[in-house]
Structure formats: C-alpha cells, structure tokens
Symmetry: C2
Subunit: 407 residues, 2 copies
C-alpha cells in the first residue's frame, strides 16, 4: 500500500482530497495543526456547514467505508523534527501540501496576519522540501499554488501553465528564445508567498532532484464531493465570511438570506473557477503523473472556467431572484480585467470539469438554504483593506452595508 | 539631522557602512542581534583581524571622531514590536538592510542552517517592509542583495541591472515587449532567499508605495575602509573559514601560511568583485538617489570587475610565490562560466572603483601577513556539500587536503 501525506488535510481542500485519496486506495495520513479552526475562532466566524471535529470525521470515515486515515497534529512550519520523523517512518509516495494560510483578505488584515502568513507559508514549504531532500526520499511533492501568482495583467496573452517562452536579444544583437517561469505579479501577501514558493520549488528540483508538481488553482467553489456526501459527519467547510469566503459563496449566502449581492467595484474582475470535486480529481491525476527525478517542476493550471464577478452575481441573482448591489473595492486591483487561462495539462489527462451552470443550483439548495440557520451575518463584510489609502470611510460600502439577520 | 538605521550594522559590510554614513553626516543607529559573532563561535571560527566587541567599537568611534552611533540589540526577524517602536521613534530617512545570513556554504551545511537562513532572511525582510508600510513612513529601504540571484547561465548576455526586456508572442501572433524581473536562478539556499526578497520588494513597492533600492552585490573583498583604519578597535572582519571566507580571502590566507591555493574544480567559475571601500560608497550613493514614492524597485548591480577563480589564484600566486592546487568542487555548478555584468547604474553616479590589481598587495601585507598569528587552520576546509551526491569521500580534496599550522 502506498502512503500519502496530506499536509493541511483538515482544511477546505485538504479534507475532501484526503477522503478521495483514501477511497481510491492510498494509505492517507493527515498532518494538520488545526490552524484553520483556530482562525475561525479568532475571527468569530464558522463554516455554514456543521463540520465535525477531526476525530469524529476520521471515525465516521472508518465507520462508513472501513478505511482508516491517520492524523498527526504537527505544525509543518514549526515542528520540523516531528515532520521528519513522520516522513522517515512513512516514506510516502507523495506529500500533498495544503499547509498554508490561504486567504488573501486575511493576509492583508494587518501586521500580525501578514507576518503569520509569510512565516507560516514559507517555513512550511521550506521544511517539507528540506525534509524530503535530507531524507533522500523519492517522494513527489504536490503543492497547491494559485492562479494569483500570475497577476491579472490582461496583456493579450492566454496565461500559460507556469512557464513562458520569451525572446531575448543577446549582446551580439541576435535574438534567442528562453523559457522562463512566468513573471509573477501577486496581488496580496498571501499570493506573494505562493510566488516565493515557486522559487523554492525551482531550487530544490534543481539542486536536490526533488520531484515537484505545483498546481496553480483558481477559486474553488462547491462544498461536497461524492466522499464528503456519504455522511453528514464528513461534510466539508462552506466559508462565507469576509476573509475566507470566496466571492461566489458570499453571493450564495446573501441570496439565501435575501440580502442584495454585494459586488466590489464594477465587478469587472475576471476570475478562474474550479469545483471542489475537480480539485480532488486533479490532485489524484497529479499524483499519478509525477515528474521524473531531476526533471524541472511540473506546473499545471487547475481551473475549469473563467467568469466576471458581475456575471457570477447575475447568475446567482437570476437563479434566486435576489438583487445585486455595487460597493467600493477594498483591493488594489484593476477595475476590469480580461483573463484567459490554459488548462490543457489537466484536460490532456482526461479532466472533464463540472461547470458553474451545472452545479450552482445544488450549492444553493443543499448548502446555502439548507444550513441558513447557522448563518452569522456579522462576519460577511471584508475587514481587510489593501492600503491605507483604502481605509474604511473612504471605502464606501464596506462599513456601511448592513446585513440582515438570518430568516 | 537625518536618521539612518543599519540592520546588521555589526557585520562585515554593515560595520564599515555604519562608520561611513556616520562620517558623512547621518545619525546612524545600528540594529543587530550579533548573530554573526554567534555563528563564529558555533563554527569555531573567528575573524583573522581582532574585531572589538560592539560597545568598544562604538566607544572608539566616539573617541576618534566625536560622533555617536546608536546600537539596539534587536533581532529584526523575531522582535517585530521592538523594531516598530524604534522606527516609529527614529522616522529614519533610510533603513540599510544587511540583516540576513549571507554565506552560501553555511546555508548549505545541513537542515538546521538551511532552515535558519530561510526563516531569518525572509522574516527580517518582511518585518522591515511591513513595519515601514504600517507606520506609513517615507523611509527608503536599501537592501543588500546579491549577483547570485541572476545565476551564472552564461547565455550570451551581459547581465542587466535587475530588469530585462523580453519579447512575448500574443495570442494574435503579434510580438510585444515586456520588461520583467530578470528570471532568477539561485545556486544556494542563501541566494534563493535573496530571490525571494525580490518578490517581497516588488509587492510592497506596488501595494504600499514603499521606496526600495535592491543592490545586487558581487563578492566583496578587502577589509579596511578609510574609517575602519582610523583606530585598530575599529578594524573590520576578515573571514577565511570554509563558510564565510570568500574565495579571495582563502587564497590570501593560504598564501600567508605558505599553503597551496586550493582551487575548486577547474577554477573556471567567473565571479564579480567589489572592494569593501566601494560597497560603503555605493550604499551612500544609493541613499542619495532613492526612487520616488510609487516608483518600481530600483535595482543596481554593485560590482566593479569580474575574474575567473583560477586567474585570481594565479594573481595571488604570482604576488606571493605560493603554488596553486586543484581540488573537487562541492557545489552544484557549471565547471566553467562566462559572466559579463552591467554596472552602468553606479558608474553613472560617479563610482570609480578600486580594482584588484591595485588593492591586493595592501590586503596581503596589512591583513593576511600582519595577523597571521591569529590563523586557525582547521576552519579553512568547506564542510558544506550541496547535495548528497557530492558527499565527502566523493568530493576529493575537501576532506583530504591538510592544512599547515600557522608559521
């Protein structure tokens, strides 16, 4: 039996990935310090869906499927010795690395959150790479990166998968081609850490021959996978707060309570989306298709489709009959951007993604409406401002919008 | 009077920079946790020159020049609150940031040193940037980067100053020009952290308007500046150990004790050099020429000339009559490389650098020979190996070379 370690396996992507990998036959061990649950308490937020404690989750999985998933409460950024001991012991085929603080707004709340995000994310990634190199493991490191490292320049290019062909003029005046890492342009401290991760992957692949796949993922939507649906104790997170809730979840939540769908700016930002069901499939595909030892980092864009935020809002609005409301944007970003993204890599491996138009109704009925009683209105407004120039009071709407109590 | 904070102001570049900035009229405060002295103790190494404790250094400076330099024992990577308080208090015109572990071999010794280098360097840089942004200071951050971020690809290009013009083919088949950060190719964990620093500078310049200069410095040689020469208690470090000693210092030390000059591999690696006297001048020039608020990061190559390692050895050999010896290379790098580097930026600001051919005799007589009695032969061999494939026993020479006792 092959071992897989899922770092961050209690989180939104990590949990359903752990279940999926367990179901398809791997011996899965979750490494998690439960930081995502701690941050929920810190923010006074909680998942709309009633997620069970990790011990209950694992017990339910065993009860329902007969399969065991291991759990180690290790902080990958801090507890290096424990991490090394575990990897030495398990000699995993792959480490799936979700062990990073993953909310851009949270990373921009203030000094403490910026510093936590950088310290945690960089040290977690570096510890994993250092441990794999030091133990001379043949382990494949599969990392959840983000589309956000590319920035959203809209410079007339379809965003390639990680690398870009460019022409450079040599000193002799002759042009020649080079392949480079796509120049990053991260929009938050969180995204910046993922750009920095890329440089660590490049180095450890080159210097130590570590086999690495970096998945540049779009915004994940949806809640359930076929595995998390098996029992309510296995249910996945649904975040709708101003920090961790993605734009689509906030629209769904607002619609469920009959509040206008708040669109930042003109809603002209185009984002890439993927359903959580496809996230877990992509991880399995990435594990099944590792780079060879000594090969460069494999980068795959993990996204299914792109939409403008206002079009998303319109889709939810048309489905639910709830109006849209435009408010100021707390982020430093272009008001409108175009975004085209290559996802040939996963398409070629056979991915047939679930699209928004197909899956959104299920999300509305089975999640947002079903659990609406657990809704906490105070957590929706985004409290993070990207720079001092965008401070509350200047950002109309962020402070002013009032949220209704749950029905 | 304008305040300047020098983070890492007790180190090899930081100390003479602090004195120079004090002499030309700034109110200098050194922030240092004295980690460089701690690492010396850890390695059983010490500067060939008898460096005085920091309190003595500062007292001597006051005695000799009448000028005061402040000192705060703050770990910029760990003691964020103390750093913020100091910056709030001083509102410095510039922060000169040398606060990073700066030896590539040390960063490759093992897991502990890799992890220390990443944790220290990334958090120090990020804390400084976060503090400047949070306090809304107009402070100019001047960072000591390294030529090592460029890698030594030898792809027929003079290395530009940080940015590169490239041509990209758009989806419509039309080529267009983009300016990008020169794609990095760091050769050690240490160099990797400086590549990662670049991404933080890019983000904080863009998002918070922090004014940043990043100096991509070559290998610094020489020991004394006009300020450190004023009194022996002001003398600067001369490192010759396998971790912190640069290649030139090791040759000078070996020559002083009559030991063959050990050249790694073919000695075909070409490196960029700059004298410590020019380092301090460059920092002063960088401070005098900051980017405007909101402008992109200014990147300047801080180097005077390039030489192949074997040519350096031949130069020292011809000057001292000591032979050369070729040993295996512990690093993962090309045996031979070409390196041409633009330094137009500092040339345009008036820098007229000291070249090796002019300054090497002084280094031999006034430093290596003068202090030869303090030589500790056991510290010369490089203990770091870049990968397991290069482990001792395979790397001939590194373990086998015996070093003579001092004369």
């Amino acid at each position: 039996m092959e071992n897989i370690v899922v770092v961050g396996g209690d989180g939104f992507c990590g949990w359903p990935t752990s279940l999926h990998l367990s179901r398809i036959g791997f011996d899965v061990t979750i490494v998690d310090n439960l930081s995502r649950r701690r941050i929920d308490r810190e923010l006074g937020a909680r998942s709309l869906t009633p997620i069970a404690p990790i011990a209950q989750r694992l017990a339910a999985w065993k009860e329902v499927t007969g399969r065991e998933i291991g759990f180690e409460n290790i902080d990958a950024a801090q507890d290096y010795a424990a991490l090394v001991e575990l990897l030495q012991d398990l000699q995993p085929k792959a480490i799936v690395h979700f062990g990073e603080q993953r909310a851009a707004p949270y990373s921009m709340r203030g000094e403490t959150e910026k510093r936590y995000t950088v310290d945690n994310n960089i040290n977690a990634t570096h510890n994993i790479l250092t441990a794999v190199a030091a133990l001379s493991l043949d382990t494949h490191v599969v990392h959840l990166g983000t589309m956000g490292v590319y920035g959203y320049g809209g410079d007339g290019l379809e965003i390639p998968e990680g690398y870009q062909q460019v022409k450079v003029t040599g000193d002799d005046g002759q042009e020649f081609e080079r392949e480079i890492l796509y120049p990053t342009n991260p929009g938050s401290v969180y995204h910046m850490t993922k750009s920095m991760d890329q440089l660590m992957f490049q180095f450890f692949a080159k210097n130590d021959g570590v086999r690495i796949t970096d998945l540049h993922q779009g915004i994940v939507w949806g809640t359930q996978t076929s595995e998390t649906k098996l029992d309510e104790r296995l249910i996945n997170r649904f975040d709708y707060d101003g920090d961790y809730g993605t734009v689509l979840n906030r629209f769904l939540m607002q619609a469920a309570v009959g509040h206008p769908l708040t669109v930042h700016g003109t809603g002209g930002q185009t984002c890439a989306f993927i359903h959580i069901r496809d996230t877990v499939r992509c991880i399995a595909l990435a594990i099944a298709n590792p780079p060879a030892r000594g090969e460069r980092v494999v980068i795959r864009n993990q996204m299914a489709e792109t939409h403008r935020v206002r079009d998303l809002a319109a889709l939810v609005s048309s489905m639910t009959g709830v109006d849209m409301a435009f408010v100021d944007n707390p982020r430093n970003e272009a008001a409108e951007n175009d975004l085209r993204v290559s996802n040939q890599s996963f398409r070629a491996l056979g991915l047939k993604p679930t699209l928004l138009a197909e899956g959104l109704l299920e999300e509305t009925v089975d999640i947002a409406e079903k659990y609406v009683d657990r809704y906490r209105p105070s957590t929706i407004p985004a409290a993070s401002i990207w720079t001092k120039a965008n401070k509350p009071g200047i950002v109309k709407g962020v402070d002013e919008v009032s949220f209704p109590e749950a029905a």
